[in-house]
Symmetry: C2
Subunit: 715 residues, 2 copies
């Protein structure tokens, strides 16, 4: 009776397996049918009657010929795979190269530069937004080793910029209430919130988003900004959650499934001892070294690519095509080097995985076996990360597999960044980091009790810390991703070590890219050599000043012949007893004033009646590239001889420094207050009331070291 | 056989219960013995042969006479309870009143003020540290409705200050390497790290600590500071964890058990719908209203207490005694109004709880019943919070119980803050908030599926948001406390609503206390009326200036007759062509210079040889109250007539503004750069080179509105 029972039980189990519809963590339905049945099914033509549940065509290539090793069929599979990738890549590259070249790359350096005060029009233009969104979708689908997190940050910032400008007049998207953002500070705040929202949405990490905006994106921080970004990410979190809850049952396709990364390693044990700490420290050091090397190589590759990219749109697309083919070859070719591994007997998911993404890809292996390298390559990047982070899967990946995958992703990541597609850095870095994390975990398997999935997480943290050099925000993002706060001390430790190690070699990857792009980024601190100079030392070029009541012709001439955005206004007798600095007038305000044509026949001071003919918003900051332009002015010869009163539009309280002020102190003042112009006044009396104007460019190391090549030796 | 079996099972169960040593979440051992046995045990004398496992004697009072309702015995119990409380309270109050009055209160406002640039010696003195630690221990033990979180932040800051000053010379604790902190900025950073460490240790929330330091404590924030606080809290987290792991088995008594609050509500379901959101919004509004009312009442009570506290140490101690008696009466008297509730049959913990802290206190109830109000009152505050936050305990507390407890804690919290003991605000606020959270939860029980424990957490969040007005840091602290990131959207929402509602009534409690203490706290923004004034409008008092080479007597006279800390130095002919501003010299540097006695016979300029007689560190900022004092100088009559060259110690690059600069802009400049002195230079030529000096006090609203009482009407 005992034996009979067992037999019956066995029968039941078999039936269970055959009929069970397994729901894994992502809600994918997997039918576990037997092997014979499979062979029949997959002889059918490609792409017909089959559901393609992931955005990558990769899976087609992997599943098309599961058993037979006929070279011809594999070649067909590769052609389909590489062809699809190439098509998608070409679309992404064309969008980028022909419509909005500014959309290439991560976008985080651009957002960072904008928030530092560098307002380049194309950076956050509507066309950039469009290309960023669709280019990123096509780029990720094309199987490149790129992430979508950076592009999402840029997308968030672009949308914020669009809102902050009162919509886009060109595309007929305008709202009246948005005109309240027509000043630099509120617009900057809005774009900071947009960047935070991007991170919050990309990683489902609202607090991480706030901290990212604080630590990496923003250059100035106010308490009000903290509260505004927090509000933004709270809304993102609530909306995202509502959609995911609504879509959980499949009402809206695959929304919220797989795409948004969310790894759960909370089931792993979290007690740790001395050997674990040693392993973590080692990971930190490795992350620091690999991270700084990564930054170094990315820098070199970007410099090389810039030669190609400068030649026009066609070479850009060609470069993308080459990289796409390289990526396809790697991801289809390298799995051949991996040995087949017998399926684990205890696994709860099907092995080999046939449909959708999953841990166990069959590839060229016989049934009952899986190819672990194919599981990593022929999968969405998100699923590969999830596989690497999965717990209790110590033996799932062979050491050689991890090594090959790490090397491939590390190199592909470096050569892919910089081509003309929107490409995030987070995913490649996390992938590579998780790989060597697992490798180190295998080394310490005997003396450490930490799970391999945890090692992968710590490896990813160390590599992120080594490349991006963030601390608190990365830590919180990783914790929000993995939903386990007990890991906190280990993640903190690994981030601190890797950042410290990497900082001794070079700067963070985003800082490097900002510098490489030639953007005049103002550092928060003054360079040491600035202490040996005074403010007047770096003034160059002739100073163009206006009188309080100036001839229209003079103003127009100055506007035409110089590129200055600010002009000092000096009151001279008879307006005052001696020449004195009245203030600073901006180019944009001058243009609005001249357009209004409130000219005087002679240079006699009038009242404030001029301003009555303007509304306050006329002088408000227009959207990027939307203000009055010099060409818009239509001034007659007669009017050129007339006068205009500049007093109403003069900023009477410009920030000034004495010419003998230490340049280091002047730089701190300039940076801390977020100035665009700083007037230099003379120390001794009896000289002109202003001796120069400093702008952002005057504080750039290139400018100063160009003037004083030997100054660094004086240290 | 079936019946026999069940009987045997029953027997076994009984044995199990009698012998089982239950380990609850906190590791307290609870012996579950039967009632008869208890009666025998607890007739024995108080405090003998019994383990007192919590720091509060409260439990003794509750357990001494569990069954008999003899009035005499209850009075004895009350006397023991109130007596112990009173003794502990008196010790705490005496420490505070006689040794370090600055240790009273939360300490967070003081830390905030210090980091804003207000350097009062006693705030972070070693004696304050000592009293803060021990006063807090005694105060919390005395059963007051106070927390230890604020004091821990202050403790952290005090330790940092002690380290930053190179130890304490008075108590023979000095280290040489610490002299590198002898400048304001590094010392400020160190104290920020100390405050972050305090929060990290108090709540076991390292990221929360960093954010607290950022959002509430620090006035200036640099990227380097973020990374330093992060490092500090990482070390705190690792050390704390190592100790807790080591002590888990009871090797070091109760270390890490119960004291550090850590509530786990992660088991509760976290899916929510529209009614839940409505409930959360309601909680937010209630929190905002109660919070601002709390702040208003605390302000009123503090003003009343300050009259008493100003009369000396004895009235201070007396006030503490009165409040202690009031607290004892409330916590022992109010539970009599609660009805006895039958013990739940499904509970896994013993009911009624006899030893230590626990959910079910017997108090006056018959066996098999428990008094829910006594469970809240006669427990440590941490355990009460844990009880209120516990999940799946919908019916544990009666509505009237929650109402009485809320009213009592709300009122006791208000009257307790401000007495002469170290008293944190977090715990009373969390307690009261958790109460009304549960009350609202009961209201919504029919339409909402959220757990009562979750409602308690959200209530606590709303009240915290309403009183303290922090957002991100509170959110992260609460998440780190409860270890469930899925609650994030709800906690964010409730915090935002409560802060918004409360901000429309008054300021945060810490800001109010800073203002009440009369500390000249500089706000980050300029007041609107400042736009109508210029910098020279607020200059008061005569200006004391020195020549570049000044007579010793003149300097000594100026130092004696004024309290100024900075003096402008003006070069006059023959040193320069016309009088010009040479720079600013500090009182502390003048004192060091005069002490060195490098005087000249006549006013002829010498070289820089003077400085060779000083080391750089001579002029470094000394520890609070440790610099050269005016009384230390011993200048002879002859020397008074000699001259001293001020150039070597003059700061030649002081920050200056033109007299016509808008006061609002000057205030921003002063605040953003963290200045102590700002020189006002004239606009027109032919006047003295400096017209005034602005300090922190000149930007205080009281000062400006005193000078221009009608200015606020001009808005």
């Amino acid at each position: 009776m005992d034996g009979e029972d067992r037999l019956r039980n066995h029968d039941n189990n078999v039936n269970d397996i055959e009929n069970e519809v397994l729901l894994d963590g992502n809600g994918f339905e997997r039918h576990w049918s037997d092997i014979a049945d499979k062979n029949v099914t997959y002889k059918e033509p490609l792409l017909s009657r089959r559901r393609n549940t992931t955005s990558q065509i990769a899976i087609v290539g992997a599943n098309v010929c599961p058993i037979e090793s006929l070279d011809y069929e594999y070649f067909k599979a590769f052609a389909a795979y590489a062809g699809c990738n190439l098509g998608l890549a070409t679309v992404a590259a064309s969008l980028c190269a022909f419509i909005a070249p500014a959309a290439a790359g991560s976008g985080i350096p651009e957002v960072k530069a904008y928030l530092n005060g560098i307002d380049a029009h194309s950076m956050l233009a509507p066309s950039t937004l469009f290309v960023k969104i669709f280019g990123s979708i096509f780029g990720v689908s094309a199987g490149f080793v790129v992430g979508k997190e950076g592009p999402m940050v840029h997308t968030g910032a672009c949308i914020a910029s669009l809102l902050g400008q009162g919509g886009s007049r060109k595309y007929h998207l305008t709202w009246k209430w948005l005109k309240y953002f027509k000043n630099d500070r509120d617009r900057r705040d809005l774009i900071t919130c947009g960047a935070a929202a991007g991170v919050a949405a990309a990683f489902r990490a609202p607090v991480g988003g706030v901290l990212f905006a604080l630590e990496e994106a923003a250059s100035w921080w106010r308490s009000a900004l903290l509260w505004r970004t927090f509000f933004t990410t709270a809304v993102v979190a609530i909306v995202l959650r509502a959609f995911i809850q609504y879509c959980w049952t499949g009402k809206c396709g695959l929304f919220g499934q797989g795409g948004l990364i969310m790894y759960d390693v909370s089931s792993a044990a979290t007690s740790y001892n001395i050997p674990d700490i040693v392993a973590v420290l080692l990971l930190g050091v490795i992350g620091g070294i690999f991270g700084s090397l990564y930054n170094y190589l990315v820098d070199k590759v970007l410099r090389t690519y810039s030669i190609i990219n400068e030649r026009g749109a066609a070479p850009k697309v060609l470069l993308v095509i080459v990289i796409s083919l390289l990526t396809s070859c790697c991801s289809f070719g390298l799995p051949w080097f991996a040995k087949c591994i017998p399926c684990p007997t205890t696994s709860t998911v099907s092995c080999p995985t046939i449909d959708g993404s999953g841990n166990y890809k069959l590839f060229q292996c016989p049934s009952g076996y899986y190819n672990d390298l194919a599981s990593l390559f022929l999968n969405t990047n998100d699923d590969s990360i999830r596989n690497l982070f999965s717990t209790s899967t110590e033996k799932e990946f062979h050491i050689s597999t991890l090594f090959i995958f790490f090397a491939a992703i590390y190199c592909l990541g470096i050569v892919t960044y910089g081509i003309a597609i929107p490409s995030g850095l987070f995913i490649p870095v996390i992938l590579a980091g998780a790989c060597y994390g697992r490798l180190v975990g295998r080394l310490f398997a005997l003396i450490s009790e930490l799970d391999m999935g945890l090692f992968a997480l710590l490896g990813a943290a160390s590599f992120l810390g080594g490349t991006m050099r963030m601390t608190v925000s990365l830590c919180v993002i990783l914790l929000e991703l993995t939903n386990d706060l007990l890991l906190l001390p280990l993640v903190m430790l690994v981030l601190l070590v890797s950042k410290t190690v990497a900082d001794s070699f070079n700067k963070g990857v985003y800082d490097q890219i900002v510098k490489l792009k030639g953007l005049p980024y103002l550092e928060a601190h003054a360079e040491p050599y600035m202490r040996h100079l005074v403010a007047s030392d770096v003034v160059t070029g002739p100073l163009v000043t206006f009188s309080g009541i100036e001839k229209v012709g003079t103003i127009l001439h100055a506007l035409r012949t110089t590129g200055h955005n600010g002009f000092p206004v000096i009151d001279e007798p008879p307006l005052s007893d001696a020449p004195e600095l009245c203030g600073l007038v901006l180019r944009s305000h001058l243009l609005v004033l001249l357009k209004g044509k409130n000219f005087l026949r002679d240079g006699v001071l009038t009242g404030e009646e001029i301003l009555q003919r303007f509304a306050a918003f006329d002088f408000a900051k227009a959207g990027s590239g939307k203000g009055v332009k010099l060409e818009d002015l239509d001034i007659s010869e007669e009017e050129m001889e007339m006068f205009v009163d500049l007093h109403p539009i003069t900023n009477a309280s410009p920030f000034t420094v004495v010419e003998t002020m230490s340049l280091a102190k002047a730089a701190i003042l300039f940076r801390q207050l977020g100035l665009r112009h700083m007037c230099i006044v003379p120390k001794a009396q009896g000289r002109p009331p202003i001796v120069g104007i400093l702008t952002r460019h005057d504080f750039m190391p290139e400018h100063i070291l160009g003037l004083y090549p030997r100054i660094e030796c004086q240290k």
